[in-house]
């Protein structure tokens, strides 16, 4: 099942913000169709990696390639078209819209209509909108959010807003999905739902998933590979079992006394 060529290849990635070295020398390969997790204490540089993949930041040095293409040559709005989708650590929904409208925005890169098409709303545009609506409906069904589809997202409880954000990322039709602290603040049941969705996305829709996650149960249960960062430095990589038994990791998390 696992293809030999990596879908995402990060080489010697470093990022310096003024005097702060946020990330130094990270080299990671993400294989096709795996679930990979980045873990590490707050400020370890996990979200910085996501933001560089998403082209929000430029790295100070290093390279990122996606399916063999140099990602650093692209701008943020190219990513949806390339097949990279993401959710944000803090909610980043379009808060004036309904669930359906948020998901439709997610389809932006795959629709074509321009100003004149939209204003006239004739054959091709009307067909495109109906097809987009149908695709959105499939995502709604997959995420089991049928009851709230027409509600304004700002009115929804936190866990559901996160789920809508996952839906919006799915609407970009990603091959690679980046989830930034998806289950933080969720209760046990909501967390289990999300874990089930992530497994389904991998198994049924052949997506590759990278998670940044603090919930160790989720990380150890569903990841194929775990990468550990501490103060911007990679300290371990491996299967969940390998990482969980690694003395350096235990030291970083629990302090030297437990190592």
């Amino acid at each position: 099942m696992k293809a030999p060529t990596p879908i995402l290849s990060i080489r010697d990635l470093s990022k310096r913000f003024g005097g702060v070295q946020a990330l130094s020398g990270v080299t990671v390969d993400i294989r096709q169709n795996e679930i990979a997790s980045f873990i590490g204490p707050n400020g370890a540089g996990k979200t910085t990696i996501f933001n560089m993949i998403c082209r929000i930041y430029d790295p100070t040095s290093g390279t990122i390639s996606f399916n063999g293409k140099d990602l650093l040559r692209h701008r943020p709005h190219h990513l949806a078209g390339l097949g990279i989708g993401r959710t944000f650590q803090n909610l980043a929904l379009f808060r004036h819209g309904t669930v359906v409208e948020n998901l439709l925005v997610g389809m932006h890169a795959h629709l074509k209509s321009g100003v004149l098409d939209g204003a006239l709303f004739l054959g091709r545009t009307a067909r495109e909108e109906a097809q987009a609506r149908e695709e959105v409906e499939r995502i709604i069904e997959f995420l089991e959010i049928e009851e709230i589809r027409n509600q304004p997202v700002a009115m929804l409880p936190y866990g559901l807003q996160k789920r809508v954000e996952l839906g919006r990322a799915l609407a970009t039709r990603p091959k690679l999905l980046l989830l930034d602290e998806m289950v933080s603040g969720m209760n046990q049941e909501e967390t289990e739902d999300i874990a089930r969705f992530v497994l389904d996305l991998r198994d049924e829709l052949n997506m590759t998933v990278i998670m940044i996650e603090h919930d160790m149960n989720v990380v150890l249960d569903i990841s194929d590979t775990v990468h550990v960062l501490n103060f911007g430095v990679p300290i371990a990589s491996g299967t969940p079992a390998e990482v969980a038994g690694n003395p350096t990791v235990i030291e970083a998390y629990l302090g030297a006394a437990h190592a």
């Binding site: 998403c54 929000i56 701008r75 943020p76 709005h77 190219h78 990513l79 949806a80 078209g81 989708g85 993401r86 944000f88 980043a92 929904l93 379009f94 808060r95 004036h96 819209g97 409208e101 439709l104 925005v105 997610g106 932006h108 890169a109 629709l111 074509k112 209509s113 321009g114 100003v115 098409d117 939209g118 204003a119 006239l120 709303f121 545009t125 009307a126 495109e128 909108e129 109906a130 097809q131 609506r133 149908e134 409906e137 919006r168 970009t172």
Partner: protein, 349 residues
């Protein structure tokens, strides 16, 4: 209570009006408007023409400020560019009216790119100041460029016949405005429910997330300015045709404030709101003056002598009151009322 609201396919979910019965109401509204010249005295019809022109302008401003969230205090400038473009096209070059209206839109949209470029870097108050400066520069330019615009002595605008239809009467001006307003409203409603409109709302609400959805922020901000200014320029051309004599007094700062008041009162981002707001803000100063004049004496003479001051005070009051008590505007009130009646007798207060 409204019934039979089930949808059977995805096409029905994307329709402009969700309920069949809504079409009947809009058909009725259209019928009333079309027969208006036969039912009311000329001054009422002329007043409705003014409201419709204001509505076109408000719908235009609402695209960039309400939907895309880019504050413009400079729309009087685009209105002026549209008005003078139409005026010059008709009076100097003898263009037919529809061509002059389109030219007004396009010249205005092109000028908007000048303001659009700083909008890529500026936000909020800074953008407001930049756009304000733009409109002041436009007015100066018009006053200085006498050879083209007639400068401060103004410029007469004719209303040439079009395809043998005489355009001189108030009724033909009313119908022309009604057609343009109808096309503007329909086109904007369609635009806002399709890909481009959603992209504008997305970049207003969360620009980083919007760009992750594949929205090119630079392109869509400029596009919002261009489309908004196109419509405002068209409104300007209608103004020129309506008043038939242009000078820059019609495009002072108060006009931009008036436009902002319309969309705040109506409800930011809502087309219906822009129309309701345009109606209220157009009627309110005249209504207040009328009420003040009823008191006679000192109040009456204040009312007749200080039109501009009264306007300013009213806009300020209305903007503050709406921001405080109904920030979602008249459109929100409309929806609440509509829901009440469509759920009746099962509606909850």
């Amino acid at each position: 209570m409204r019934t039979r609201t089930y949808r059977e396919n995805y096409r029905e979910l994307t329709e402009l009006l969700p309920y069949r019965s809504s079409w009947n109401w809009y058909a009725l509204l259209l019928a009333v408007l079309v027969s208006l010249p036969f039912m009311v005295p000329t001054y009422v019809m002329t007043y409705v023409t003014l409201i419709l022109i204001a509505a076109v302008g408000a719908v235009g401003l609402n695209i960039v400020t309400g939907t895309a969230g880019l504050i413009s205090l400079g729309h009087a400038g685009f209105l002026a560019i549209g008005a003078y473009t139409a005026g010059i096209a008709i009076s100097t070059y003898g263009w037919p009216i529809p061509a002059a209206i389109l030219a007004a839109g396009f010249v205005s949209a092109a000028a908007s790119l000048l303001v659009g470029v700083p909008s890529l870097r500026l936000k909020g108050l800074y953008l407001a100041i930049t756009t304000l400066a733009f409109s002041i520069i436009v007015v100066h330019l018009i006053n200085q460029w006498e050879g083209l615009t007639g400068g401060s002595s103004g410029m007469p605008v004719g209303r040439p016949d079009f395809l043998g239809i005489p355009m001189r009467s108030p009724a033909s001006m009313f119908y022309l405005t009604l057609v343009i307003a109808g096309l503007t409203v329909l086109g904007t409603l369609n635009l806002l429910r399709s890909r481009v409109g959603r992209a504008w709302a997305a970049l207003r609400d969360y620009d980083t997330a919007a760009s992750m959805m594949g929205i090119n922020l630079v392109r869509y901000k400029l596009l919002a300015f261009a489309v908004s200014s196109f419509i405002t320029g068209v409104a300007g051309s209608l103004m020129a045709l309506n008043i038939r004599y242009l000078n820059t007094d019609s495009f002072e700062l108060i006009v931009s404030i008036e436009a902002i008041a319309m969309i705040i009162v109506g409800g930011l981002g809502s087309v219906r709101g822009a129309i309701l707001g345009a109606t209220l803000i157009t009627v309110l100063p005249d209504f207040s003056r009328y009420v003040l004049s009823l008191f006679g004496g000192a109040l009456g003479s204040i009312a007749s002598g200080n039109t501009a001051e009264i306007k300013g005070i009213i806009y300020a009051l209305v903007i503050m009151l709406f921001l405080r008590f109904e920030p979602d505007g008249l459109a929100h009130q409309w929806n609440r009322t509509k829901r009440f009646w469509s759920d009746w007798p099962y509606s909850r207060k």
